[in-house]
Subunit: 520 residues, 2 copies
């Protein structure tokens, strides 16, 4: 057979096949609904159900165990064939929605979780429909992100030349901030030559954070090829904040040893007890030695919205880079973090430079000077900025700040409840929004038979108390270890929490602690 003829007939078949693609709806390959009316009806039903879910956020247990059958359902293989939307939604209703972590429930206090809003969920639907790639180019979503960058600059008092972007979270923000700091010190040689090259500028680079600094800082050092050992632990003051004098001493010691200190990561809101470093003083120390100051404000940066608390962040406006999350105390749905960098030119130099196929044109959709992909490691990027924009536009920064105020007030109330209760013990300063405590019954010194519980027994008891709170879905604090003590960590960054929720949790801890006490 003549291969040309064969190709020609194949071509003809392709043309015919292409013709049929012209069908307005549901042609071969088109992935839109074949029955729009059905899709529309089901979408409306989902909207009602999800709004009901938010309205009843305080109903039922915070978390519930996932039945074996559900776990099994969620192990089926790759779906090859289409399934009716209704069936898929039914699986979501039965196997997924009831078994989320509970962070939209008012008694979720674990780790540092945002609690979300219906507003944010609606924004995600809009963003999903726009399906914007904000890696670059000239379209409204890019302008929306630029507007959000402007808001962040305004909020934190950064200059106009500061650049920034919405990233997945503070972990990624810290990577971007520290990569920029690294470049500043190596004068860009790290980018081409690499850190191990004799002229790459990587020898002896060291940075600083406290031992309570977030794990993502050490992880960023590892990822960037600096090594976790290059992050030197700085001593803390009693409140858990970085000791600026210890920082100064550590830098001097490392300089004397011939190392190259390049960056300090200050923390605004430590994850264990909410400590805020003295940013003004740390800025003085870093200036004196010519070091970069990166601020990890993962949740604490939101204090800037709260009138009576904003002063705690004094000095943040002088940071070289600031990392924080919108999905925590700003309650934007997961995920949305932010990196802001004072020296925009350095930021662009760290990540900029594009291949031919990404060249900008002077106008049209391919236009634009700086694209977001020039400011970070991601070339395709979703429209995370939209939910930030939409949440702030609708709720307003003040209302979010009000929620922050409320949470800090609640933490003080809870700490007081703990202090006032003979069987409870505070494990860390509760200065901001985090309360670490444990069940610790005092021994009656008049009773000769009573022996105090050992540390191991106390730890076992508190672990059981926590697990029981979890199992029953009463409340979800997270586990914490302070020194040798195992405790319950209550992080108040939930806008649905009320004073009654905290009382309910304290009562449950007392009751469980008493009932689970080993018989002495």
């Amino acid at each position: 057979m003549d291969p040309m003829t064969d190709e020609a007939s194949q071509d003809q078949a392709e043309t015919q096949s292409d013709e049929s693609d012209g069908a307005p709806e549901g042609g071969p390959g088109r992935l839109d609904p074949t029955d729009w009316t059905d899709f529309r009806n089901q979408a409306h039903q989902v909207v009602d159900e999800l709004i009901n879910r938010f309205q009843e956020a305080d109903q039922g247990p915070v978390w519930r165990p996932i039945p074996d059958q559900v776990q099994e359902n969620l192990q089926s293989g790759l779906p090859r064939d289409a399934q009716p939307l209704e069936d898929v939604l039914d699986e979501v209703r039965e196997d997924i929605l009831p078994y989320t972590l509970g962070n939209t429930h008012p008694r979720f206090f674990g780790w540092v979780h945002g609690s979300g809003t219906p507003t944010g969920a609606l924004a995600e639907f809009l963003a999903g429909a726009m399906n914007a790639n904000t890696g670059g180019r000239h379209h409204a979503p890019i302008l929306v992100e630029e507007q959000v960058v402007g808001w962040v600059r305004e909020l934190f008092g950064f200059p106009d030349e500061a650049t920034g972007m919405v990233v997945s979270g503070t972990s990624m923000a810290t990577i971007v901030g520290l990569a920029t700091a690294r470049r500043r010190t190596t004068r860009g040689r790290d980018r081409t030559l690499g850190l191990a090259h004799p002229e790459g500028g990587g020898q002896g680079l060291v940075g600083y954070a406290t031992a309570d600094g977030h794990q993502s800082i050490k992880d960023a050092f590892s990822l960037l090829g600096l090594g976790a050992d290059a992050l030197r632990p700085v001593a803390m003051l009693e409140d858990g904040s970085m000791d600026p004098e210890a920082l100064d001493a550590a830098i001097r010691r490392d300089l004397d040893a011939g190392l190259t200190p390049f960056a300090v990561v200050a923390t605004a809101g430590s994850v264990t007890c909410g400590a805020v470093d003295d940013l003004t003083r740390i800025r003085e120390v870093t200036r004196q030695h010519g070091l970069w100051m990166h601020v990890d404000g993962a949740f604490g940066a939101a204090l800037k919205l709260a009138p009576t608390l904003a002063h705690r962040l004094e000095g943040i406006q002088e940071a070289d880079s600031l990392a924080f999350d919108f999905h925590k105390w700003f309650h934007v749905p997961y995920e949305a973090g932010f990196i802001l960098i004072r020296d925009g030119a350095l930021h662009r130099a760290t990540f900029g430079g594009r291949a031919d196929y990404l060249t900008s044109l002077d106008e049209g959709p391919a236009a634009g000077d700086t694209w977001p992909c020039d400011l970070g490691p991601e070339l395709s990027r979703g429209f995370r900025a939209f939910k930030v924009w939409f949440t702030l536009q609708h709720l307003g920064a003040n209302a979010i700040g009000q929620a922050v105020e409320t949470n800090c007030r609640q933490a003080r109330s809870l700490a007081r409840l703990v202090r006032d209760e003979a069987e409870l013990e505070l494990l860390a300063p509760a200065d901001l929004n985090i309360v670490c405590f444990r069940f610790h019954p005092r021994v009656d010194s008049d009773d000769p038979l009573a022996t105090p519980l050992s540390q191991d027994e106390l730890n076992e008891l508190n672990r059981e108390v926590l697990l029981e709170l979890h199992r029953r879905g009463i409340a979800v604090p997270s586990p914490i270890r302070r020194g040798d003590a195992f405790g319950l960590r209550v992080c108040l960054c939930n806008h649905r929490t009320t004073g009654k929720d905290l009382e309910l949790m304290v009562d449950a801890v007392l009751e469980l602690g008493r009932s689970l006490m080993p018989v002495g």
Copy 2:
């Protein structure tokens, strides 16, 4: 005044204030709607409008210029006060929705953009309402992501011990893949000691990709501290794929020079012309030298879903790591990429290890052996896996594969149209789904007055043709440079494109080219 008394009265005020937080709806700080009925009505209206928008995806221009007034509106400062939802939605309707990039339109062919689906948008609403943080812990969203990981393993023929996760995109996936490769070679010393340390294992590490390899590969080398120079360009065969013999020679040369080759990045679907490397042969070469094989299948990995094209990926099942995007040819909304790593233990060793406050418990919400934060640099993570899960469950893998088949057929049709047209010229092989071409009128050799256009004139002409296509919103190919030639790059990965859309674009290019020709 006794400070204790003062504190007591402050406490009392706090308690009272807490009392008022107990209001079921809209207490101080609560960020849920104050008028649920209004919110519900407006959400329903948004759903209808967005579904209409999808239904009319082929209406109107692909892209339109953003009016000055709109640009100005999108520069207003941080919103301090709440605004009615309706007003915010009106701004979205007026200033944002009409000015998206156009990648949901059937005649969007620029860069490599997914075109999204109503199914995916609905999934985003659901995910936004769940507001899951999939960094870890024990809840259904984690199981859903594990299920998606299983599907990816199944699809690409990876063993059960392979681990993976949904990431923002292939850029991030490549960073995770190469970080794991780096650790394999340094035996983990890079993680603690850093690359520049004499014993960190970073000296002389080099990797390989072709010059057509994606920019994100070089960027990953920079971010990881290896330096862009450590990525060695490997010669290509005529079809744009990596020349395995040249790879072998390059590795030998570097070994002879005392360097430490550690990884090869093969490409399945190059961004300029859709070339697919011979993965089987590259695997042989990498095995011979003990190198890691990372596959960048950003869009090309979707060929695995297409019955007549899947064989092009033969050998992918042997990769050490595979990076690809769900938001491209799988049409999941932005953003959702994936990293799959054959050696799960090595993967965990590269990113695992958690601080005290992230310790797992044996059961309850804090349970779980490997959390996703043990497999990548992100500690907070959104529920990106849900839109992948929902899209595949509803549409089925086969339908997505069908769309891939259709796009490749369309590319062959378009290449034929270009070849058949005397005034058009193909600039690169159009073997998969990408067609690079330009307007290039042949000179009538019988006409003594006709002189051919210079390369510069041709480039200027084609730039104008492209800009005019963009300005008028007729179609959006992206700019491309092949050698010295500027051309139009049509990437067919749009499930809404029909044969008619391609004919319309070709006709417009011819008409514009003729009308914009410099008068000779």
